[in-house]
């Protein structure tokens, strides 16, 4: 019975998720469907599900639409189809709060004795990590570009959630000062001063140029005043 329920859930995901259709494609646009590992080329007329991820290459773009929305993803960008939607402020706050439950609860002293057996020897680790980090940065930057386009299209809440997820899954992108300031400004626009303050405090821990430091300091002062007036 439980298995049947699971299958129904999975089927219902596939049936109800055909949210967008592709109106126009220029250049190279690829997609990852659901949890698939295989990239597919995107062509005009193709239907996109909410669990799909689309990625544009250099000098490429894609225009997608459904009954209520048109959205253009510009070059060197990536976006989860599920993020092209209006989010309520409540849902945004819930999504930001989800951070807190990502931490593993503190273990007590009664935790199981873990097996420490090691099979084989270390090899090729550094090279692999470097390679994967480069891949991660590549996708992460594209996702942040996509998030900015969401914000420009009015989906500011979705843009913030996308940025937050991207920073977590692709932490190398955290070093881009301008991108982080961009999303912090959106937090300020939405009057989420506490969250903005937290983000700026975190940004202050990076190695910054004098110009960036001054910019950061100026924004922190504005938020302090805003928090006092709140």
């Amino acid at each position: 019975m439980k298995r049947l329920i699971l299958l129904i859930i999975i089927c219902s995901i596939n049936i109800s998720a055909q949210d967008f259709k592709v109106d126009k494609v220029s250049g190279t646009v690829k997609m990852l469907r659901g949890t698939s590992e295989n990239w597919e080329n995107v062509t005009s007329g193709k239907k996109l599900n909410s669990t799909d991820l689309i990625v544009t290459e250099e000098k490429s773009f894609i225009k997608i639409s459904n009954n209520t929305t048109n959205f253009v993803l510009e070059s060197n960008s990536a976006i989860d189809i599920s993020k092209v939607k209006n989010m309520s402020m409540d849902d945004l706050l819930l999504a930001l709060a989800m951070e807190d439950i990502r931490a593993i609860p503190q273990k007590d002293s009664k935790s199981n004795v873990k097996n420490t057996a090691v099979y084989g020897e270390n090899k090729g680790v550094e090279k692999s990590v470097e390679a994967t980090e480069a891949t991660s940065v590549y996708l992460g930057v594209k996702l942040l570009n996509g998030a900015k386009q969401l914000a420009k299209s009015g989906y500011k809440e979705s843009a913030l959630v996308t940025a937050r997820e991207t920073y977590r899954k692709h932490p190398s992108t955290l070093t881009n000062f301008n991108d982080r300031i961009y999303f912090t400004d959106i937090l300020i626009d939405l009057r989420l001063f506490s969250e903005a303050n937290e983000e700026l405090q975190s940004l202050g821990k990076l190695e910054l140029s004098e110009k960036n430091k001054n910019q950061l300091h100026s924004k922190l002062e504005k938020i302090k005043i805003a928090l006092l007036e709140k």
Binding site: L6, I9, E37, L94, I104, N112, S136, H170
Partner: protein, 668 residues
């Protein structure tokens, strides 16, 4: 009238002005010295307590020795011996009363000169009344209401000298004195009820001569018979101040009695004193008798000295006419009674210490799950609402014993309770290893005890409880972890054996991927031998131990998730249950597994970051966890994709994690 008598009467008039009255019919052998500080002993008798009310807690023996003064002559004897026993809410009492005796010799005024002597013989009548024994029973309905009855056997004996006339053959009349002896037994039964309205006031009602059975062939009432008119006595006791008590009884024949007593505690016990006065409707005096008393009591014994002073201002002469006209209503308290002093001793035969705490109510789990034993160490399986009955801070030691599950009583944390405080006490339990592998469900019982400073519990209560078998589960996903840990040693060896068989693949992998590769190898091995089998519907959810799942080679999602989690935990790979809560209460569980990879390394295992979930470890470092659906057996990648898709949709996109529709429960 002596000066002392004037003083006593003045006191009694003062008490009468308070409108409190005492019954007279019933004479109180203990002198109305019962109050709050000596209430553990029975200091009243059937004479004022036909309903057999007592606060006695267990066995109690009492004896009264009495001395009577008659025209300057003192006679003494054993007055009463009694035994009382409290059994839960029932109280039994029996007494033997050789001292309840009244004997009257009335001269008829006739004298005979016997023909063979010059001596004269006076003819007289002897009337003797006595109680042989009495017994009583009462039952308490809660703390405030008691109802009961008493039965007493009385014996009445008359010896009347009469003249018989004989005629000889010459018709000469001869007068011969003959003594006619008659004995009559009376069974008299009465009922009564006592109600404690509150701490300040107690009321009672009782019958007088409700049932009277005469064991004799005499159908016609004679003047010498004991007066057995039916009456009702109403009683009222007021405690206006600590250890001060006002007692009053009113009898429907317009007799009454009032009493006042008080007391104080000393380092070696309690001292009480009291005085009562009675008005008897059959006697012309306003105050027919006065009864002062003094009492000493401690936890083990009570000693009382009681005086009875009969005013007899209008003492009736003992004549046959008076007997005919006035009769005798009470053997020990009548118009002919002499002053008396009684010495009473009550002894607690089996001492029960004072109950300091009491369980008001108790909420307990209706069933116990042996495999969840660890839970019962930290989460109470029962909570009692308890009251401190004393005026001091006490230490309460709670304990419980579950038959068939505990080797001995299990003590829960000690609690200090403020005076008169009502508080809650949690009960925890320890399930011994030898009891944790129970294969069948049984109905048992659990005993809860509260102990203060003594070895014996102050209060205890018993409840039935269902002990489930080892595979029973309460349906809470969080408790599945106890099944994961149930045979971890076995499963650990099992997993290591599989990994050992695949050590080449592990050795050839990137070292950071070690956990991931192990997860994959173990799942492939697990999936190829498993079959999904639905859980048969039953009253209680059933979960297999991991070794049982491996042996049976199948199970439902709970069994399979528990088994694969145990395989990973057994080799030190962290896992967590994903609880997909469904509104129709049929939830689904799958597994989240820690690959130990850093987020930037995600492309080592996937192109699709929907398949990963980032969690911070205890060092605040992000690590990649992956969701796995354990009921899909195609291959590892398929199970990962299915698990990841459901997790991404329900937990992330639909915000299930923050809307409490999806919960991650770590296993450790």
């Amino acid at each position: 009238m002596s000066g002392n008598k004037k003083l006593i009467i003045s006191l009694l008039i003062m008490m009468l002005l308070t409108k409190l009255t005492y019954s007279q019919h019933s004479y109180e052998l203990f002198g109305f010295s019962s109050n709050q500080i000596n209430s553990e002993f029975r200091l009243n008798s059937f004479e004022s307590n036909a309903g057999n009310y007592s606060l006695n807690k267990d066995w109690e023996f009492s004896a009264i020795y009495g001395a009577e003064v008659n025209d300057g002559n003192v006679s003494s004897n054993i007055f009463l011996i009694s035994l009382g026993k409290k059994l839960n809410n029932d109280y039994f009492y029996a007494r033997y009363t050789p001292g309840i005796l009244a004997k009257f010799i009335i001269n008829t005024g006739i004298e005979l000169i016997l023909d063979d002597t010059t001596k004269a013989k006076s003819l007289s009548n002897l009337f003797e009344y006595k109680e042989i024994f009495g017994a009583g029973y009462s039952h308490s309905f809660g703390e405030n209401f008691s109802i009961g009855f008493s039965v007493r056997l009385f014996q009445q004996k008359t010896e009347e000298d009469v003249l018989d006339i004989y005629y000889d053959t010459e018709e000469t009349a001869y007068f011969v004195p003959v003594t006619e002896i008659k004995k009559t037994d009376y069974w008299i039964g009465d009922i009564g009820a006592t109600y404690n309205y509150n701490e300040l006031m107690k009321v009672s009602i009782q019958s007088v001569n409700l049932f009277t059975v005469k064991e004799a062939d005499i159908s016609e009432k004679k003047y010498s018979d004991l007066n057995t008119n039916k009456e009702v006595i109403f009683g009222l006791t007021i405690n206006p101040y600590k250890n001060i008590s006002l007692q009053s009884f009113y009898e429907t024949n317009n007799s009454y009695m009032v009493g006042l007593n008080g007391g104080f505690s000393t380092g070696i016990g309690n001292i009480s004193f009291g005085i009562s006065a009675s008005h008897n409707n059959n006697i012309d005096d306003l105050i027919s008798s006065v009864t002062p008393s003094i009492n000493y009591s401690n936890n083990f014994l009570s000693i009382s000295a009681i005086g009875s002073i009969f005013m007899n201002n209008n003492k009736t002469s003992l004549s046959k006419d008076n007997f005919k006209n006035l009769g005798i209503g009470n053997i020990i308290n009548n118009r002919y009674s002499n002053d008396r002093i009684l010495l009473a001793m009550n002894l607690a035969l089996s001492f029960k210490p004072e109950k300091k705490v009491k369980i008001i109510s108790l909420k307990a789990d209706e069933q116990i799950f042996p495999t969840l034993a660890e839970n019962y160490l930290t989460k109470p399986f029962a909570t009692a609402t308890v009251i401190n009955l004393t005026n001091e801070t006490i230490t309460v030691k709670p304990s419980s014993y579950i038959r068939n599950l505990n080797k001995e009583a299990v003590y829960s944390p000690i609690i200090k309770a403020s005076p008169r405080d009502t508080f809650e006490i949690p009960f925890y339990t320890i399930i011994g290893e030898e009891f944790s592998l129970i294969n069948s469900r049984t109905i048992s019982d659990v005993h809860f005890y509260l102990t203060t400073e003594n070895n014996e519990p102050d209060d205890e209560i018993q409840k039935p409880i269902l002990i489930n078998d080892k595979n029973s589960w309460d349906g809470k996903i969080i408790n599945l972890k106890h099944f994961v840990n149930s045979d971890l040693n076995f499963i650990s060896k099992y997993s290591k054996q599989i990994l050992n068989n695949n050590r080449t693949e592990i050795e050839n992998s990137v070292s950071d991927l070690e956990n991931f590769v192990k997860i994959k190898i173990l799942f492939e091995n697990f999936a190829k031998q498993m079959l999904y089998v639905s859980d048969p519907r039953s009253a209680v959810e059933y979960v297999q131990f991991p070794s049982e799942t491996l042996n049976i080679k199948g199970g439902d999602c709970d069994d399979l998730t528990v088994c694969f989690a145990a395989m990973l935990e057994g080799i030190g790979i962290e896992t967590a249950f994903i609880d997909y809560k469904n509104e129709d209460k049929i939830s689904h569980v799958s597994l989240l597994v820690n690959t130990k990879l850093k987020p930037d390394q995600s492309s080592l295992i996937t192109n699709n970051d929907k398949k990963i979930f980032i969690r911070k470890n205890n060092q605040n470092i992000d690590e990649i966890w992956i969701p796995i659906e354990t009921t899909s057996f195609v291959n590892f990648n398929s199970s990962w994709e299915i698990g990841a898709l459901q997790f991404y949709k329900e937990a992330i996109t639909d915000l299930g994690l923050v809307k409490n529709k999806v919960e991650i429960i770590d296993i450790y």
